[in-house]
Structures are given as structure tokens and as C-alpha cells.
Amino acid sequence: MRIATAMTDVHYVLHAPQGDTYADLLFTMIERLPRRPPVTYTTFQARDLGGDTAGLFQNAAREAFERFKPQAMLVGASCTAELIQDDPGGLARALRLPIPVVQLELPSYQKKENWGAAETFYQIVRAMAAPQAPPPGFKRPPRAPGTRASCNILGPTALGFRHRDDVQAVKLMLADLDVDVHVVAPLGASPGDLARLGEADFNVLLYPETGSLVAQWLGRTFDQKTIKSIPIGLGATREFIAEIAQLTGVDPGRALHGAPSNSSWYSHSVDSTYLTGKRVFVFGDATHAVAAARIAAQELGFTVVGLGTYSREFAREVREAAKLYGIEALITDDYLAVEAKVAELQPELVLGTQMERHIAKRLGVPCAVISAPVHVQDFPARYSPQMGFEGANVIFDTWVHPLMMGLEEHLLTMFRGDFEFHDAAPASHLGFTAAPRDQTAAPAAQPAVPAEAVSDRPSAPVSATAGALWAVDAEKELGKIPFFVRGKARRNTERFAADNAVALITVETLYDAKAHFSR
């Protein structure tokens, strides 16, 4: 559906029970699409199951053709319709419609959404562009001297994370490289545009999750090269420009200097020293997660403590990336597993999807969204790309905003007992009113235990917790540790106590544990 809705002049007839039309509102509400997705659902009900659901499908397809007059039609079955085995492809072909009909085989009991989008895009591109294919073994002739290079932009869809703005940002860069954009697909493309994909010199693949099948097929069929770099972050953007410049033989100078980025200077400015070593957890689709980890580590000076993806198809790439940070990648689509991991690692910032935003909120950790699936607030009215130099600026602002400002963080560490600075108080620039804490809490003006008390070692759940008791003083001292690492300090101390058969945890035990784990 993300493919069909991204395109123009196509219509998708989906054999599905009533209720599946909820998918429409993901587009009309979350993305604020001002039109209905081009999808007709058969919305069969129990009473239809004994009868002619095939006839129901054919009527829906015929009516959709007459009403919407598309250039091409996609037909498919939802998870339930798959079970009743009506063969939408055969039924639609039997109607002999005067347009290409593309049958989608998307086994929903085995595969996930991104795979479905990639497969749909691939099927419709093949249906439209294969008739234009040159003979096998075709070699693309070198570009005639004096002509501008042209490329396709592949991958952007409806309901994608900042796809609209990324396409804009990439087009600006390509203009600076004197490269013409031939077709952008699927976003904004018609079936006729897809038929012309083979005419471009090369392909720019922005979102491998949805576009790599198509890019590979175009490479095999039309001998088009694909730009592999994905321009998210400063370093990756420079590589993207260099890769295109090398392929097309143009001077990258204008593209490299045309859009100076503030993010690099901001990151170097002294104010940003408080960002150093902030522990971040990254989760999302593979492309965005890998890019975010690189930006976090290399461009903001964070420490990547967790990296993961729900894209099993790209698990290998994410595992490779995780090795760079000395960690093991989390490959799962179970949000409870992600939540458990975040709780265990206690990061200071979570970079994730809509789901991780909920997780971070529950755990009281600041969060920024870096990947689909996303919610309505991730479709901002303003131009807000993730790609290119402006994208790097957007990322800097978005990630740094949820964090506590530098000096404020120090004050919070120094004056734990201040009633406006209690644990539940958010960063003051975020503007919530904090409820004053119970005034009877012990005022603590002593320097607090530095955050380094907590090592990055994994702290396994402590089974012997019940064995060790906390002395009142030690409990009080623990309260002086910044709240975002306090849980970890508590568990490390308890583990230390258990390992050393300490029955009562005193202030001394707390500092012994700190020394033990900070080695």
C-alpha cells in the first residue's frame, strides 16, 4: 500500500475483510494525506464466505477500473483473504482489463511490511519496464561528451520517515553535481514513469529496504550502476557526493561547499562537550539505525551502547556495524525484547521508532525518532530532511534537544536535594512544570557520586538481591547519584554485595562496588 499510495495513476484492489480499511487512516491521519489511498477493498463478511467471494472480488476490480481509470492495477489478498485462496491475479486477468494488471504475492504469514513494499515495487517496475528491456548482455555505452548525466532516485514511499524532504535535499545536491533527475520512484511516479526507468545513466538508492530489489534488477537489465552511499550524516553525505562525482566525472566542489553545515561547528563548540560519551541506544530500520549509530559515534561524540533493527533482511549489515562499537546487534521485532534491552542498558538517549519513543517514555529516558514506523508529529510542516548537509543540521537539533543542557546537568548532579531539581523534573528548556518534591527529603550539598561509578558492563539481573539489605545511609547516598544511572548503580552494588557475601550494604560497600566496576 505504501507503494501504491506513493504513486499516481495506479489502483490497488485488495481482497480483504471489513476492518482492513483501517489502513487508509494511517495515510490520511498520520501522513495527513489530503486524498484517499488508491485502494479498493472487497470488505467481505461472514455471510459472503459461503457464497461467491470470487465474484465479489471481480465486481470490485471492475468497478474500481471504471471509476478510477488507472494506468495499471495491482491486485492482492490480505492475510485472511490469502486463507480463502481466491486467486485475485487469475480473477483480475479473466476480466481482460485494457491495462497491465500486476498480481502481488505477499505471504503475510511469513514476511513483514518492508519486504512487502520492496516486492510490490519490484513487481510493478518489472511489469512496466521489462517491455523496454534491451537484449540480455546489454552494455551501457559511455555518455556522449557534453551531455549531463541523469539518474533515478529509488526508494521513497508514502508514510516514509521524511522521504518527502529527503528527496528534496538529494535533488538539490544532484543539481549542484550537474546531474539531472530522470524519475523519482515510487513517490510521485506513474506507471508510465516506471517504464522510463531504464533510460537514466545510474540509480541513487535512498532506502535499500524498499528499493534494493529494483536497483539490482535495473542493474542487471539496463546495466545501471547504483550509488551505494546513503547521505545521512556529514561523513556519509560527503561520501555520497564523492561517489557520484567519481561515477559521472563531475567536480564535487560545488556540492561539497554549496551547503555548509552548522552541525559540524556546533558539535565542536565547547558547549557540546557535555555531549561527550552520552550513552545512546539506537534501533530502527537497518539503514537509519546504522547511519544514526555512525553519526552518534563520529559526529556527536556519543557512546553507542546498543544498536538494533527489526529488518531481518538486513541483519548482517547491522551486525557488522555493531562490531564497530564493540557491541552485539539486537535483531528482533518484539518490542518487549527492545524494552528489556533498553531497561538493562540504561542509556541516556534513545534513538528509535515510534515504539521506542513509548519505551523511552515509560522508562523516563529522552528520545528522538530516527526511523519509520512513525507518528503524526514526525511529519512536520516545515522542511526537515534527514539527508544531506541540512539533514545533518536537523539531526543535530533533534537529538540534542531532548537532552539536559550542559551546565544544568552539572547543577543537577551537585544539588540533588534542590526541590526544583528532583528526579521527575525534566530539562527546564522543555518547559513542563515540575511538581515540587517532598521537602522532607534529605538536602544533599555534598558532591555526588560521579556517573563513572557505573561501568558499561552488562549487569545481569541479580538473583541474590533479597539477600543484601541497604543501610539507611547507603540508600541516602545512592539517592545522590543522578537518577538516569541510579538503577544501574543499585544493581551493580547489589551484585557486588552478593558476589562478596555482604549482608548489609553500607556507604562503604557502595564505593567499593563503584571502584570494582570502574576498573
Binding site: 476492518g19 490520511t28 470488505t43 467481505f44 464466505l49 465479489l56 511469513q110
Partner: protein
């Protein structure tokens, strides 16, 4: 309306009782019954809803509910995958494993619903047997029930009907000698329940219970002298199940608006033979306050033309409120199902000639809507933004299910929901 073709029929209108009824079939732009879990899991605080379905079901619950709810939700989806499709025995073993895990993790759960979905029904996974099996294993700590929230069986609010109907056979029974009791049937906001309870108390109707209750341990008892009053218009199966236990319905309008609420309370007062002067004394102040609050919106709404797309089955009582109490003009009242008996009091109060359409053919209905150019369109979220983009003013119908709208004190809130989009249009200049 286009010519009838095959299954997508649009039967010609029938005039009966001064209204123009018709029924149509085609694409239905509605939610399935699983959506009801979103409010039911908040209403019954020790219940858990386990959907037995596909990734699509999980996605629906996550996107429809997950985005609105931040506490750990008391619902989840047991996902059927290809291994389960290979043989039913595996699916049952898998289900038992998921349920055991769930109940270990959530010892606070006292009532577990296994909720059927489209795929579980098409593969004929027998959830009632699974519920019996699991119930005997986990009783008395946990009761396990089942119902269907599938799109092939249920439309949106019918999910609540199916859920409540599954609870009825397990309700405590009252003997012949028991005193009459009053049951209010249909999930209401807690604040509305409390208001209603105070009014019944003041009228001397003491034995009032609400169904569903806030906790599964507070299930109401039913017997031959039980009378029930529907608070929601979509409870056909629940009503039938209650009647089988001997309970009898008190016919009334639904408690929307000042008049609707007054006559709903009055029906109960009459059934309990409450002195009419006592009824007046108890309800008059709240009724007058509601009328005062409504008068502010009457100028805004009177004379405006409204078009209902089918959604929650609340359409007929809402149409009655908006036409009879607020002076709006009804262009079309679409509703997924029309329960003529339960709605008769409200239908009787619709203006002669009102077009009432049961079922849906969304494309044809959109054509009629565009042709009629109403001042306000009540529709689902899938249609609202596209219609706004075409210049129509819309009211999301789902908000009418998620807002406390019943009773005297909420009458003006209900009117405001319809006034707000109209006011907004006049405020925006660019």
C-alpha cells in the same frame, strides 16, 4: 445512485413510518470489532484481551491503540504464523503456551478474553474450546472467555456487543424471590456512571448495576425480575443473551442530549413506579442546566445540514439529538446496522422523510455526499482529511465513541463536538 451491479447493490428507498430507508452493499470503510478492546480494556480494570490473529491485527491494535495509550496495555496479539496454519493442534499448543506465559507475568489479571479475528475464524480455530480448556486450568484465579472481534463477523462497536454477550452466561443468577434490580448495559465513562448512579439513588432506585463493571469481580446478577436499560445502541446480542436469562428491556431513547437523557431516566422511573413529582424534582435542575448549556450551541448548529457516514451505530440517536434538540437538518443518516427495536424511540423522533441508509457502498455514498454539499460530515478517520481537502467540514466519528457524551452534564460537550469544526472553519482565514 449508480445502477445496482452484482453484489454491490443499492436497493431503492423504502418509505416506512415516514422515514426513507434503504440498504446498500459495497466497500465498507469501517473498523472491525477488535477496536472495541481499546476502551474495554480500560473499563474492566482486571481484564486482559488476547487477540488471536495475524500481524495485520497486531498492527491495527498497535497503530489504533498503541499510539494513544502509554500505560502498559492490557491487550496483546498472539500471532498466527505459517507453522500454525500447518495444523490446528500446533496452534492450540502455541496458544496455551502464550496464555501461560502471559498469566505468569500478569498475576493481577482475573479475566482473560481470547478474541477471535478474521484469520482465526477462517482457519476455524475453536477459541471456545480453548477458553474452556484454559479456564479449567487456571480457575479459580482466572476466568477465560472468548468472543469474536473479527471484521468478517463484527463492525467496530459490535466488538463490545460480542464481548459483553460472552460475559452474560457467566453472570450470577437471581432467584424468583429476589427484588427487582436495574441493569445499565453498555460501557460508559466512569464519570457518567457516577452521575447516573446519583440520579437513580435520589429517585430511590437503589439496586442499580452497570454492565460491564469496572472489575470482573463485580459482575451484576440477573434474574426474571431484572430490568435493563441500554446505554449504547449497538448491543443486540448482549440484549438477546440477557433476555434468555429472563431480563426485560426498558424501551427508551438513548441518553444523548437533555431530552434524550430525561426520557431515558424517565423510562426507568416509570418502570420502578417512581412518583412523577419525585422524578421531576430530581432531574429538573440537571435538565435545565443542560438546556442552558445547549442554548449556546443551538445558534451555531440550527439549520446546518449534516451527513452521517456509517461507523458506530450511534448515528440514529445522534441524528435525533441534533435534529430534535439542536435544529440541524439531516441529509443522510448512514449506519452499519439498524436495530429497529432498540432504536424505535429515537427513529420515531426523526423528521419525516429522513434518509436512513443501512450498510455501505463507500464510493456511491461519497458521490451522494459531494452532490449534497452538507455543512458537516460525520465520518471515519480514513475519509476525514480527504473530504476536508475537498472543502467539506468533517467531524471524526470515532471521537463520539471515545468521549463521555451521555447524560445531562455532557449534553453540551456533545453539541460542542459538532460545533467545533464549524467554528474552526470560520476562524481560519488562510
Amino acid at each position: 445512485m449508480s445502477a445496482a451491479t452484482g453484489n454491490c447493490t443499492a436497493e431503492g428507498g423504502v418509505s416506512r413510518g415516514n422515514l426513507r430507508y434503504s440498504a446498500e452493499r459495497g466497500q465498507r470503510e469501517v473498523f472491525c470489532g477488535l477496536t472495541g478492546i481499546i476502551w474495554l480494556h480500560r473499563k474492566i480494570q482486571d481484564a486482559f484481551f488476547l487477540v488471536v490473529g495475524s500481524r495485520t491485527c497486531a498492527h491495527l491494535m498497535q497503530s489504533a491503540a498503541g499510539v494513544m495509550i502509554f500505560a502498559e496495555p492490557r491487550f496483546a496479539t498472539a500471532i498466527i504464523d505459517e507453522r500454525d496454519l500447518a495444523g490446528l493442534a500446533d496452534a492450540n499448543v502455541e496458544l496455551d503456551r502464550v496464555v501461560t506465559q502471559l498469566l505468569e507475568r500478569r498475576p493481577d489479571i482475573k479475566l482473560l478474553f481470547l478474541v477471535g479475528s478474521c484469520p482465526s475464524e477462517v482457519i476455524k480455530l475453536d477459541l471456545s474450546r480453548a477458553a474452556l480448556r484454559l479456564s479449567s486450568r487456571f480457575s479459580p484465579q482466572v476466568r477465560v472467555l472468548n468472543y469474536s472481534g473479527s471484521g468478517i463477523e463484527t463492525t467496530f462497536t459490535q466488538g463490545e456487543d460480542a464481548c459483553l454477550a460472552s460475559l452474560v452466561p457467566g453472570l450470577p443468577r437471581l432467584g424468583e424471590e429476589a427484588a427487582p434490580n436495574l441493569l445499565i448495559v453498555g460501557a460508559l465513562a466512569d464519570v457518567v456512571e457516577d452521575q447516573m448512579r446519583r440520579l437513580f439513588d435520589e429517585m430511590g432506585i437503589a439496586d442499580v448495576q452497570f454492565f460491564p463493571p469496572r472489575r470482573s469481580t463485580l459482575l451484576p446478577a440477573v434474574g426474571a425480575r431484572t430490568r435493563y436499560l441500554l446505554a449504547q445502541p449497538f448491543l443486540a446480542d448482549t440484549a438477546r443473551a440477557l433476555e434468555e436469562l429472563g431480563a426485560r428491556r426498558i424501551a427508551a431513547t438513548f441518553p444523548l442530549g437533555a431530552e434524550g437523557t430525561a426520557s431515558w431516566l424517565k423510562a426507568a422511573a416509570e418502570a420502578w413506579a417512581v412518583d412523577p413529582s419525585l422524578y421531576r424534582r430530581v432531574t429538573q435542575p440537571a435538565y435545565e442546566r443542560a438546556q442552558r448549556a445547549l442554548s449556546r450551541y443551538r445558534d451555531l448548529l440550527a439549520g446546518k445540514r449534516i451527513f452521517f457516514f456509517p461507523d458506530s451505530q450511534l448515528e440514529v440517536p445522534l441524528a435525533r439529538f441534533l435534529s430534535a434538540e439542536m435544529g440541524m437538518e439531516l441529509v443522510e443518516v448512514g449506519t452499519p446496522y439498524l436495530h429497529r427495536a432498540h432504536l424505535s424511540a429515537d427513529l420515531d423522533l426523526l423528521p419525516p422523510g429522513t434518509r436512513v441508509v443501512e450498510g455501505q457502498h463507500v464510493e456511491n455514498q461519497l458521490d451522494r455526499c459531494h452532490a449534497a454539499k452538507p455543512d458537516l460530515v460525520v465520518c471515519g478517520l480514513g475519509l476525514a482529511n480527504p473530504l476536508e481537502a475537498q472543502g467539506l467540514t468533517t467531524k471524526w466519528s470515532i471521537e463520539l465513541v471515545f468521549t463521555p457524551i451521555q447524560g445531562f452534564n455532557q449534553a453540551a460537550d456533545l453539541a460542542e463536538l459538532f460545533a467545533r469544526p464549524l467554528v474552526r472553519r470560520t476562524r481560519l482565514v488562510a
